[in-house]
């Protein structure tokens, strides 16, 4: 238990899918957010830029109007007719004529331009008025002269530009205009007065009204005294239902500022004309945000679409990645149930492919080993059978019985008894079933009986001795392994030797093993032939060595490849057969 892991019970497929999904989710969210951020910044920036360009345009237009008016005023002032009209000493009829001409001149200007609503000259003495309308019905001089455009221009050599106002020159006419006025100072021979040019307010109104700054944004114009020249909701401002931060606007020459809090937040962008009017645009950041919201939705939409696609891909991909693993797992399950004929077919060269190949190799190895085990078991069984057969060779039995008969005819009763009892013991120990493993002492007893019989049969042919350490007497040995070796020594070593030979059986402990040796001084064989003795699987023509090979085989099968028989021999010198088995005491078995 290494902590709580919520994914512990889920498959790799799930893990990969979840990991991919998380990764994609984070990436998409991050990308969408940054896209939104960048675009919204761009939108804000662009709209501010756009706004300032727009009011710059308004400013240029208004400046053009005003400078046109100024140049018209200058033109009118310099006109010869007006100059002559102003001369003090001219006779009355000339003055009247000049007045008419000036009036016509003014009229020609006003009719040729739709931005000028009226031009008028009012003298400071004599209270004479000359306007573009020859026979106009004027308001009282006092009423006219109390207007700002007259009062404020007296005594200055600067042109006065009024705010928007209702012009009160003509009776029953209330036109909205912007007035520009200029004083013509009196000289020695001319009278002074004020020249007025009225700009049709409609122009400014239309110019500002058409400007679209989002849904709620608008433009207003304020003159340097804080008087609103244009405002789309001027009446609301006057009624205090609305307010503009005019003091802050008036302090700003050019630039943007954000005023107000929350939903009342407005961005004021101010630009100032050469004559002091401030063009102010009011935009609502909320609306930019409205625009931003669209971006938000767009980026969210694309984010979601990408997410869907990516999630689908991640599921497919994780499935594709884990599919070979699943296949491998399924095959392993089959192997678990004992089917070793399977092969995992995975063509990948990646880790899973390698794993599959290793698995295939492992499975085939296991299969091979299994077969080997089966084969070995089979061989063991056959060898035992052979060993059994080797003991009771009928030929040996006939010969022995013949010998007994012969000895009985000869009247050698004592020898008959010896031989018969040896044969009896031999047969008993051979036929007796029981364990495959027996104590060495029992095996030696058996050999003793066998040699007794053989020695009687081949009288004077050989002698024998058994010289085995007492302490290994109760160690385990495979049943009937010594007899074929001894038999071999008699038949191949002694039988063909002219004089009597000697067979010696020794046994001792060597390290953790036991070595038994059958040493004869028979005719032997050359060492080369002795070395290849065990390689003969099939008996040679003379049947030489079949039993020995079988013995070696049985030992190796029971105790492993390190044990078995070893042959050392020289021609005419005899032979040493060494039998090596592990040291197994009887108690160990118990």
């Amino acid at each position: 238990m290494n902590g709580w892991n919520p994914l512990r019970h889920h498959s790799i497929h799930t893990h990969i899918a979840i990991a991919f999904s998380c990764l994609i989710l984070c990436t998409t969210a991050l990308l969408s957010y940054s896209t939104y951020k960048l675009s919204s910044d761009a939108v804000t920036h662009n709209s501010l830029e756009y706004t300032s360009q727009l009011i710059e345009q308004v400013k240029v237009n208004i400046q053009t109007y005003i400078s046109n008016m100024e140049s018209i005023a200058a033109l009118a002032m310099r006109s010869n007719d007006l100059q002559r009209y102003l001369k003090q000493n001219e006779p009355a009829f000339v003055k009247l004529l000049m007045k008419k001409q000036v009036s016509q001149y003014f009229n020609s200007i006003v009719t040729s331009r739709d931005d000028i609503s009226s031009i008028l000259f009012i003298s400071d003495r004599g209270d004479e008025i000359v306007s573009n309308r020859e026979h106009a019905d004027f308001n009282s001089i006092a009423q006219i002269k109390e207007q700002d455009w007259y009062k404020k221009v007296i005594g200055t050599d600067q042109a006065y530009i009024s705010s928007s106002h209702v012009q009160r020159i003509f009776r029953d006419e209330y036109r909205w205009v912007v007035s520009i006025s200029r004083e013509l100072p009196a000289t020695d021979d001319t009278i002074g007065g004020v020249l007025l040019v009225d700009l049709n307010y409609k122009l400014i109104n239309n110019l500002c009204k058409q400007i679209e700054l989002g849904k709620r944004g608008y433009v207003f114009i304020v003159d340097p005294t804080g008087d609103l020249v244009y405002h789309p909701q001027q009446q609301l401002v006057y009624s205090q239902l609305k307010s503009e931060q005019l003091d802050k606007v008036l302090q700003t020459w050019n630039g943007s500022m954000t005023l107000g809090e929350g939903s009342d937040k407005k961005i004021y962008t101010v630009d100032t004309t050469s004559f002091g009017w401030k063009i102010v645009s009011v935009t609502y950041p909320d609306e930019l945000v409205g625009n931003k919201r669209q971006i938000q939705y767009t980026s969210a939409l694309w984010g979601i679409l990408c997410l869907i696609a990516a999630l689908a891909i991640s599921i497919v991909l994780s499935y594709a990645l884990t599919k070979p693993l699943k296949k491998l797992e399924m095959n392993m399950k089959l192997a678990e149930r004992g089917d070793f004929d399977i092969r995992v077919e995975i063509d990948n060269t990646n880790e899973i492919g390698k794993l599959a190949r290793t698995f295939n190799i492992m499975i085939s190895k296991i299969k091979e080993l299994m077969n080997q085990v089966v084969e070995e078991q089979e061989m063991k069984r056959v060898s035992e059978l052979k060993a059994l057969q080797a003991q009771i060779q009928p030929h040996f039995l006939y010969n022995t019985l013949d010998s007994i008969i012969w000895m009985a005819e000869m009247g050698k009763m004592e020898e008959v008894v010896d031989m018969t009892s040896a044969l009896s013991k031999l047969l008993r120990s051979t036929i007796s079933k029981g364990d495959e493993l027996i104590p060495i002492s029992v095996e030696l007893e058996h050999i003793h009986n066998y040699l007794t019989i053989q020695k009687m049969r081949y009288r004077k042919k050989f002698t024998y001795s058994i010289d085995v350490d007492e302490d290994i007497g109760n160690c385990q040995i495979l049943k009937l392994v010594l007899q074929p070796i001894v038999e071999n020594a008699i038949y191949h070593g002694m039988k063909h030797k002219p004089e009597a030979g000697h067979i010696r059986i020794t046994g001792k402990r060597v390290d953790d093993d036991i070595e038994l040796q059958v040493i004869d001084d028979g005719i032997g064989m050359d060492s080369e032939q002795a070395g290849t003795l065990l390689e003969r699987k099939v008996a040679s023509k003379s049947g030489n060595g079949v039993g020995v090979v079988n013995v070696d085989h049985r030992i190796k099968l029971n105790f492993g490849g390190a044990y078995g028989l070893r042959f050392e021999s020289e021609l005419e010198e005899g032979m040493i057969v060494t039998l090596r088995i592990p040291l197994l005491r009887l108690e160990d078995e118990a």
């Binding site: 709620r216 239902l241 939409l301």
Partner: protein, 329 residues
């Protein structure tokens, strides 16, 4: 099998999540796109373009519509007195299923049934300038006429000695507006000074009738110092009578509402003062209130848009110029 189920469950959960997220996203986007503007039908007393009052109110309506992102449809009768046609228009308006109707009722009582239909149809009803009997509308936006009436009397207090005879000429008895104005005027006249009150007389909103009443008063009442007219035609008739009898030095007139004729009279000193309303503000506030009511905000049942006393002295102040000479294209 269990593992297979787990996988199917996981995939379906993921897919469901994705579908849910995308559905939410799409619905927000589509909501944003589909949620159109607030539709409001504006029914003035008249759509006659020569009547400045309604033109200016319409400017106020348009200005607020832009500011509050509302879509305004104007449905109005040609003549201010056409009550039946206005009822028909309102029935048509109900069929268009707007979110709100802004109504300047041409009749205090006769419009009430159709107004009830509007409310029953679940449409927010806002009345402007002229309200309805029983206060059916969610809010009434207009001049406080009682207050306007008071102002006509208050301005006289400073110009007429306290024992003067003062005549009041109202327009109609049946109009709530007229009665409110009258009560305001009379309230002040009775509260201050020892004025001898003549009237109230009723001109039926006719210049000629007002002129006749004023003329006979001017001729028969030597102590008459002032005449108050409670609407524009009445005031104009009074002024005309004073002018014609050349009695402007002895008798002054005070009126309500303005017209070119009245402005002239103000400049000529015939008219001492006139109390003017603020139609732009009415139109603006009506839309603003309608939008607020649609949004479920609490709105005041009565919104006073205020009035202003205009005299010869203050008529050209930059503030009053806008009220007196509205810039109408």
């Amino acid at each position: 099998m269990r593992r297979g189920w787990t996988r199917i469950r996981l995939i379906s959960v993921v897919l469901l999540g994705v579908i849910a997220i995308s559905w939410a996203g799409f619905s927000i986007v589509s909501h944003e796109l589909s949620s159109g503007k607030t539709t409001i039908i504006y029914v003035p007393k008249t759509i006659d373009p020569t009547i400045e009052f309604w033109q200016v109110m319409r400017q106020g309506v348009a200005s607020a519509a832009k500011e509050f992102d509302a879509e305004i449809e104007v449905m109005g009768t040609r003549a201010e007195v056409d009550v039946d046609e206005q009822i028909a228009l309102l029935q048509e308006a109900i069929k268009k299923k707007p979110k709100a109707i802004i109504l300047a009722a041409t009749d205090y009582n006769r419009i009430v049934p159709v107004a009830k239909e509007i409310v029953a149809a679940g449409i927010t009803l806002i009345t402007v300038d002229s309200g309805l009997n029983g206060g059916i509308s969610k809010s009434f936006i207009g001049t406080d006429n009682t207050d306007a009436g008071r102002r006509t009397a208050e301005i006289l207090r400073m110009h007429v000695d306290s024992h003067a005879e003062i005549a009041v000429i109202n327009f109609v008895k049946e109009s709530a507006t007229a009665m409110e104005r009258e009560s305001g005027t009379l309230e002040i006249l009775r509260r201050y000074g020892n004025y001898t009150l003549l009237g109230p007389y009723y001109s039926n909103g006719s210049v000629q009738t007002a002129y006749d009443i004023a003329k006979s008063l001017l001729k028969t009442k030597p102590n008459l110092k002032a005449i108050i007219g409670l609407n524009e035609p009445t005031t104009y008739g009074i002024g005309k009578a004073i002018q014609d009898l050349k009695m402007q030095s002895q008798v002054v007139a005070v009126g309500i509402d303005s017209s070119m004729g009245e402005i002239r009279m103000l400049e000529d000193g015939v008219l001492l003062a006139t109390v003017i309303q603020k139609p732009f503000n009415m139109g603006y506030s009506a839309v603003k209130t309608a939008v607020e009511a649609i949004d479920g905000k609490r709105v005041s049942p009565r919104i006073d848009t205020g009035s202003k006393v205009i005299t010869k002295e203050n008529m050209y102040s930059s503030e009053n110029q806008k009220l007196l000479f509205p810039f109408v294209e």
